[in-house]
């Protein structure tokens, strides 16, 4: 449609409504220039255009803002998932229970196993340490006595044989060996202690393998050549006494003089008998972190039980007599 004096009205409205292209707008302006009498018509239409009322504003616009809520993911926990969880828990619980029981069984059999090993080792030891096997065997024998007194007679024979071989060992070397042996014997402590705590009165549980070693060694020192005394100490009636003695030996080396003169009433391991201790660090022991936890727990129980137990009596005098 061409812009003429007949069609100008629509062009003027389109011009006011800003619906014309740039070229068309220029055309309208040229038309007005050429037809000034129609300029007033265009101005009147321009006046009819509303102006933006800027003063009108939506107050408190913040109420219109929105924030997306992240919907929480809800996992359906079907019955079969519960069942699977129950099975897993049951399996784990059973595995732990079996593992614990297995560990205790190993501890209980450790003494017997060690005794057998020590007997084998006794055959292969050098001339300087012939009595060490006997010492360990003696210690293990005491543990065995706690478990089963019926085998005492055979074990005493081993003790006698070991004590007789102790005479050829020098004191200096024995002291060194004793210190190491006491440390190394700590590894056997849990096994022996656990056996003791099961089969012997609570006071006995307090004693350690080291103390058992000291006791046994003292028994040998008091009557080094007297087999009958050792047999008596290992006698089923007196075995309880020998295993329940609690002596202040804690891995340190004892002075034989002090032992003989200052503490005659007490029994300490002396050098001639200390060489009865051998290295047992190569003993097969079940080591793992879980077992360590149970070991600590058992120690705690033993400690608590020992608090309520009566003080151990000094029954060494009975042995000496």
């Amino acid at each position: 449609m061409e812009l003429t004096r007949k069609t100008y009205e629509e062009y003027f409205l389109l011009y006011v409504d800003n619906e014309l292209s740039a070229a068309e707008r220029h055309g309208v302006e040229r038309f007005i220039h050429d037809n000034p009498d129609l300029a007033q018509e265009l101005d009147a239409l321009k006046t009819a255009v509303l102006t933006m009322p800027e003063e009108i504003r939506f107050e408190n616009k913040e109420i219109l803002f929105r924030k997306e809520n992240k919907e929480a993911v809800v996992l359906s926990f079907a019955w079969w998932r519960m069942a699977a969880a129950a099975v897993v828990l049951l399996f784990l619980g059973t595995a732990v229970w079996m593992f614990v029981n297995l560990g205790e069984t190993r501890d209980g059999s450790l003494a017997v196993t060690d005794q057998k090993k020590n007997e084998n080792t006794k055959q292969a030891t050098t001339a300087a340490d012939p009595g060490n096997d006997g010492k360990i065997a003696n210690t293990k024998t005491e543990v065995e006595k706690k478990q089963n007194n019926s085998g005492i007679a055979d074990l005493n024979q081993t003790i006698i044989k070991n004590n007789s071989s102790n005479k050829s060992v020098t004191p200096g070397r024995d002291s060194r060996i004793d210190g190491k042996a006491l440390v190394n014997n700590n590894k056997n402590r849990p096994a022996a202690r656990r056996v003791a705590s099961k089969n012997i009165e609570p006071a006995t549980a307090k004693s350690s393998v080291n103390r058992d070693l000291a006791i046994t060694a003292e028994a040998s020192r008091l009557k080094p050549l007297s087999d009958s005394k050792l047999v008596a100490a290992a006698d089923p009636l007196s075995s309880h006494t020998s295993t329940s003695m609690v002596l202040p030996v804690s891995g340190r080396e004892l002075d034989p003089v002090e032992t003989r003169e200052g503490r005659k009433g007490e029994m300490y391991a002396t050098q001639p008998q200390r060489n009865n201790v051998i290295y047992v660090a190569n003993t097969a022991i079940n080591k793992n972190s879980l077992r360590g936890v149970f070991r600590k727990a058992s120690r705690l129980v033993e400690r608590v039980a020992s608090l309520n137990a009566p003080e151990p009596t000094n029954e060494v005098a009975m042995l000496k007599q």
Partner: protein, 163 residues
């Protein structure tokens, strides 16, 4: 439309929509309610609304809600007889504006909405047609009629405004 686009739409167009509705209804609280309702509807549908079409969607919703509101309240805007305007050469811009607003309320609601959408928001005929549900040709015709009425109200030299 994302959350960010929606909130940006609030910042950019809340005033314009409110102005458009308020100029039609001349009732502040009703206008606020309609604006809030329009934004709420846009938020509910924000997942399906194109982020670039937020303003158009907003004005469309607000316009139809306003029409419904007018019909529910049976608001009858009396088409007062066009007063005779006496134009004077010395009439100030402020006076012209007041006269124009008075003339605006003598248009029917559709014409008034078309004029405001065109003059306030600068929408094209096509966009106004989308908002109002009219085709662009109808928009053009209705708008031209409204504009001629306003011009006549304002400008005829022989008419006198009795304000």
């Amino acid at each position: 439309m994302t959350e960010k686009e929606f909130n940006q739409c609030v910042t950019d167009h809340a005033d314009g929509v409110f102005r458009f509705i308020l100029k039609n209804l001349r009732h502040v609280e009703d206008a606020r309610d309609i604006v809030q309702s329009a934004f709420e509807k846009m938020w509910v549908n924000h997942a399906t609304v194109d982020g670039t079409r937020g303003k158009s969607f907003l004005f469309t919703v607000a316009y139809h809600q306003m029409i419904d509101h007018i019909r529910k309240k049976k608001m009858v805007i009396v088409n007062e007889e066009m007063a005779v305007e006496r134009t004077t050469d010395a009439r100030s811009g402020q006076e012209t504006r007041k006269i124009l607003e008075k003339a605006l309320y003598r248009l029917n609601e559709t014409q008034r909405s078309l004029v405001m959408l065109k003059d306030y928001e600068g929408y094209s005929y096509e966009e106004i047609g989308e908002i109002t549900g009219l085709n662009p040709s109808q928009v053009k015709v209705y708008l031209h009629r409204a504009r001629q009425q306003l011009k006549s109200f304002l400008g005829s030299p022989e008419n006198i405004l009795e304000s």
